[in-house]
Structure formats: C-alpha cells, structure tokens
Amino acid sequence: MTACTGGAELLIARYGEMWLKGKNRRLFEEALVQNVRAAVAPIAKVVVRREHGQLLLRPERRYEEVARRAAEVFGIASLSPARSVKPRLDDIVEASRVALAELVETLPADRRVPFKIEVRRSYKQFPMTSAELENHVAERTIGPHEHRLRVDLKGAEVKVGINVRPEQVYVFAERRPGAGGLPVGTIGHAVCLLSGGIDSPVAAWMTMKRGCTVAYLSFHSSPYLGAGSKRKIAELVRSLARFQPTSRLLIAPFAEIQTAIRDHAPEGYRTILYRRMMQRIGSRVAATERAGVLVTGESLGQVASQTMENLTCIEAASSVPVLRPLIAFDKAETIVLARRIGTYDISVLPEPDCCTVFQPAHPTIRGRVQECERAEEELDVAGLVDRAVEGIELREL
C-alpha cells in the first residue's frame, strides 16, 4: 500500500545511556516506549518493542514519516532504518548488499568514502566470529561500489551495521540523529509562560527535552488586544503539542492588572510590575497544575526587562523556582532552534502581545525590589491576582 518502496521495514531507535543506571531505568524505558507509541500512532499502525536496550519500530505504512516523527521524541539518541533477517549467512549477505547499495546512492560521487562493516554479535553460537562475518560480508558486497567506497576500519565515515541476535539479525546502514534529552514525563511538570514571541516556545521545548511535561500560561489584554493574539498563542501551543502527550493552554485576563499598574505605578516600572504579576499568577497556576517550577524564555540582557536587576525584581514575586533555559542564549541561537522546531514562523506573525500594552517610553533598566514593593502598595495585588486566576480560560490542545 505504500506509494513507494523504500527497502527497510524496521527502525532501530537507540536511547541515551546516562539515565540507564539504577532503579529508574525501567521507568524511563517505559515512559519512552509510551511516548514513542503516542508520537507515531497518528501516522500509522506501528508495532513498538523494547529489545536489548533499544527500541524496534515496525510501521505498517508511512515508514519515512514514522521515522522522522520518532526522531523527534525526547530520549531517542539515534535511529537507523533496518532490515531483519534470520541468522543465516546468505540472508545476512543479501540484506547487507541491499543496505549498502542504498547507502551508496546517498554518498558524494567525487571521492571514495571510507567505510566499514561492523558486526555486533550477542548470539555467540553463530558459526562465525564478528571479524570473520565482517570479512565475509565485505568480500561479497563491496565489489560493485569499489569506485565509491574504500574500507577503512578506523576512519570510517559510513558503515553497515550487523547485529546478530539468536532469533534475528538486524542490518542497517544509515544512522540518523535523534532528539536526545530525556523521555517527557519522567522529570516533572512545569508551567511555561508563553508570550507569543520567539523565545518562550523554545524555552518550553527545551524544558520538555529535559523530560518535563509543560502547561502553558499566557496573558491576554482584551479589549486592548483582539482574538488574533489568542489564535497565535494557540497555534504556538499546537505546534509544540507533538512533543508531549497532552497540552493545556491557560489564558489569563490581564487588562485589569495593566490598567491598574498604568494608573498607580511609576511608568518606568510598568513592565517589571506586569511581570511580577505574571509570576504571582504563574505561581498560583503552578500549584493548581501540580507543577514544580515556572519556565520563562528570558535571556540575560536581551531586553530592558531582562537585566540582572530586573530579573531579580521579577523572580522575587514568584513563590516557585523559575527556570530560564535560554538565559545564556544569543537571539540568533534561539532563532535557529525556533526554526528547527517550527515555532519561528508563528512567532513572527504580527500579533502584539500583552506586554506592548501601555509600554513605557523609558523602561527602568536597574529596577529595585523595594521600589517594586512600594509601587505595589498602591495596588490591590491579592484581588487583582484572584480575579485574573478566576478568569483563566482553559484550552486543551
């Protein structure tokens, strides 16, 4: 039924080793299997099995899409399209021959690429040693490609891998990088403040990469802003939704807080005070969402509100720890990631976010916590926060 016939029928997905020690190993592996299953299920029926410290995926159809999707699942270190054959010599040679021919098609034609055959043999009863099998296969497969390949055991740029197991032998050539990181759901839960800009979606992605699930909290200044900015936020969350099982977007009304700050606080402090209120609302949401931390897209010194002093003022209003995965990132580095994960094009849509409402002409660069607290004495902080939390609109995406 596939429109085209790629040769491999299996995918070998390898996972990182760092966390494979100790009692948590099983939990991690189970979470990973579950996440891989959930990720590929919408594409096709895929049998996912754990075997000898790696995952085997057998897609019924849409092989390439399944491969690409699986490569995005956190915890996967690398993937290889593979064939499986019975542990019979002729079958191994034939599968290697086909895998090699496919590999050669992807190689540059202007030089001979260093290459080797690498056997791993956990089936010790197999009648040949690893080295013998390597030679046997090499002698029978390289012939037609000698002008494109040269055997180089130490400096090989490409290889055909042969894993000999008692029941099955897996033959593969290509090795694709996986997303790395840890299986989502194994580390904890976080609330990510999402602005609609370029940075915060990347911060959310990085948080998921390290094994956290993420709920999104955004602020909306209706009627100063229209429904378009909500649509943009929802699109951002949707584009990140593939990285975790379910995504919850909470949108808190923010206009009342902004007008109160505009009317009662020094203009230069507006942005800092907005953000302090966001931290308070975020801390409340973290409690109800059972999240351990807040995550923001802040980067040191990137804008006026992100000086060290202002970050200090902002964080002081939070009652839970604030993680800033992008703290040392240049904008350009963040943009590279945003493009890769697919949020960039949405982030640059010309929809204002709530921070632009009543934006001060000259924001304070070196805010002081005491000043913030003094300004907030003029506000009904608790009441404003309560009403914002009560007004939260939830979207499950």
Binding site: M1, T2, A3, C4, T5, G6, P42, I43, R61, R62, Y63, E64, E65, R68, E105, A109, G226, A227, G228, K230, R231, A234, E235, R238, S239, G342, D345, I346
Partner: protein, 384 residues
C-alpha cells in the same frame, strides 16, 4: 434513466456527508474574512488553520508548507511555473513526465515560450516510466522535474520515490513536483516518502468540494514564485481572500481519505478485480494495464467495434457513467503517450473507456458489467 451506476470517480466524486457538514457553518454564520482582525475574521482564520493542519497531516507535510489553491490545476500551475521561475538563475532546463495532466504539460509549454528548455520523458515498451531515459535527461542545470504519481488515463502508478533519488543525485538545483491528484485517498500519500519538493492535491477527487486544492511543499524547499499577486495570503504564494468553506471541506475530505486509504484501496481493489473479470469476458473488450503497478481506482478498457463515445452513450442510457479516454492530444491529434505505450494505435485510442471506482463501487460492478454485455450485443447486432 433509472439507477445511476457512477463509475467516473476519476473525473469527480460526490461530496461526502461529513465534509458537507464540516463546510456548512462557513456558508452562513461563519462568513468572516480570515484576514479580518475581529472575532468573525479570527474564527475563519482558525478554521483555515485547522484545514491546513488536516491537509498537512494527510500528506505528511507541515501546516505552514500548505498553499491552498483553487484546485489541482492551479496547484500544478503554481508548481511548474513558480518553481521554474524561482530557480531561473540556477538553470533553465525542465523535464516533464511523459503522461502529465494538461495543467502540467500546458504550463510546460508556457515555460518553453519563456525560454526554458522543456523536455518530456518517455515510457518504456511496457508502459512503465523509463527511468534510464529519465536519468539521461537530468542535468545540473535542470531546475524542475514534474512527474505524476498515478495516471489519470490508465491508472499506472509511477515510481516517483525512485525518480526522486535520481533527481537528487543528478540535478541538485531541481524541484521535483508530483501531481498526486489521482493518488490521494487511493495510495498512501506521503511527501517525505516520495521525497518530492511539492505535491498537488484536489478536493473534488476525494469527496471534497470543487474549487479547492493545495500545493504542499517540502520543508525548507525554495518556494515557487507566485502566480497571483495581492494581499499576501498563503504566505504570499497565493493572494486572494481564501475560499474558507471549500478549504475547510478540502481539509475534512483529505483527512477522511487519508485515514481510510488502506480500507478504500482494498475495497476498490476488490471491485476492480471483479469488474475486470466480468468485462474481460465480454467479447472483444480488452483491459489496458500498462506499467508495473496500477492504482485500484481506475480500469481502462479497449472496447470492440464502435468508438468509445458510442459505447459511453449506450452505457449511460443504462445508467452507467463512464469516461472516454482522452484519446487525442488536443494539440496534435496524435495518440497520448500513455496510450501509445500501452500499444494502442490511433484507431485503438478512440476505443478506450475509462471506468473509475470509489470505495463503495463494489455493489454496482455486476450491474455495470451486465450493461456492458447488453451494449456489446446491441452494437454487434448493428454492425452485423
């Protein structure tokens, strides 16, 4: 005329009830312009977002790489003209598949008039795509290759993924465009699997509405130059206020088609096999099955005696709706390449009937075959 035995699904299909229901809200209350900033506009934009996601998912692409068009023809035009023009500085050589739909072939003529060197690949003696010949035509300055996935005339499936490997190696500057209008919903349509730069799909071939189609681009490919200029909709690639209801319908139809593709293919295959068996037993009727693989949706036959048109009208009196093979190329009056490769003379080519199936055609097959037998007897009596 009693019961209609509609066997012309390659021409168009009836709207699926689910698709109709999905479109309904956007005819009346949800009339907003997706570019408007008020809630009615945003609601329409969100409907388009969802349609874009569904379209992308159905073909294995990304939502932001979906360019909605007025149908398959515009999608093909945009790819052929747009890709070639956008890459003009890198070369001016174009290779088109041997049996392309007019919306590709005629766009190729337009490119030739602009100074592009446009070649047409060929089929081998068995009616399959001649990949060796194709490979010989590919050059470093080739900027566009267009190859359909399923022949609208005979149902042949062409090996696009294998062609893609040849194109990538020989013509790194080339965009590979795939007209998948007849493939959607019958084959598993997957942009990454095909490794194409773009594929064109159409709504009304898969129980969606007419006037809605899409060109879905490969992530990161240099986009085509637009053909329609204006307000910058569709990422600037296709200006003009979007036909929201129709595009919502397209998204819904593609999703249904894609989800059901395996079952649809199996049901079509069964119906096609039965129809082929029955028709092959009608004296003088010969199934045409060129190439290595055939789509389950199309059965073309050469009919004996009278020209296909006469058969068509005799069949339609009995409620059987078919299509006369596009025997003559509009420009030259010769035999179409697909027919020539199937071994058909000019005279044969006038006697090709195309029957095209849907997932639910099975129960109609025997009645249609009965009609064929009646027509065969009637026409034979006339000749005699």
């Amino acid at each position: 005329m009693g019961t209609v035995l509609y066997l012309d699904h390659a021409a168009t299909t009836p709207l699926a009830p689910e698709v109709h229901a999905a479109m309904e809200p956007y005819f009346a209350g949800g009339f907003g312009n997706p570019s408007s900033r008020h809630p009615l506009g945003v609601q329409a934009a969100e409907a388009l977002d969802e349609a874009r996601r569904r379209t992308a998912r159905a073909v294995g692409g990304r939502p932001r790489d979906v360019v909605f068009t007025s149908g398959g023809t515009e999608a093909n035009n945009l790819a052929v003209l747009g890709f070639a023009r956008a890459r003009r500085r890198r070369g001016a050589h174009v290779v088109l598949g041997p049996t392309e739909h007019a919306s590709v072939a005629e766009a190729g003529h337009a490119l030739a008039a602009e100074g592009f060197e446009v070649e047409t690949a060929r089929l081998d003696a068995g009616g399959a795509l001649d990949l060796d010949d194709f490979a010989r035509r590919l050059r470093p300055d080739t900027v566009l290759v267009a190859q359909m996935l399923v022949s609208n005339e005979l149902g042949t499936i062409y090996p696009v993924a294998r062609l893609a490997r040849l194109v990538r190696r020989a013509s790194p500057e080339a965009a590979l465009h795939v007209d998948a209008v007849q493939a959607a919903g019958k084959l598993d349509l997957s942009l990454p699997e095909l490794d194409a730069d773009s594929i064109a799909v159409s709504g009304h071939k898969i129980r969606g509405p007419k006037g809605a189609g899409a060109l879905v681009l490969k992530p990161g490919t240099r986009p085509p130059s637009p053909l329609v200029f204006g307000g910058g909709q569709e990422g600037g690639l296709r200006s003009g206020t979007e036909n929201v209801a129709a595009l919502v319908g397209l998204g819904a139809a593609l999703e249904l088609a894609s989800d059901r593709a395996p079952e649809t293919a199996a049901a079509m295959e069964a119906a096609r096999t039965r129809l082929r068996e029955r028709l092959a037993r009608v004296g003088g009727v010969r199934p045409l099955e060129p190439g290595d693989r055939l789509a389950p949706s199309i059965l073309a036959v050469r009919v004996p005696g009278a020209p296909a048109e006469v058969w068509q009208h005799h069949l339609e009196v009995r409620g059987v709706m078919t299509s006369v093979g596009s025997a003559c190329q509009a420009n030259k009056g010769g035999v179409s390449p697909a027919f020539a490769a199937a071994g058909l003379s000019e005279d044969d080519a006038r006697r090709v009937l195309r029957l095209s199936l849907a997932a639910d055609s099975g129960p109609l097959v025997d009645a249609a075959a009965d009609a064929f037998e009646e027509v065969a007897a009637e026409l034979a009596a006339e000749v005699g």
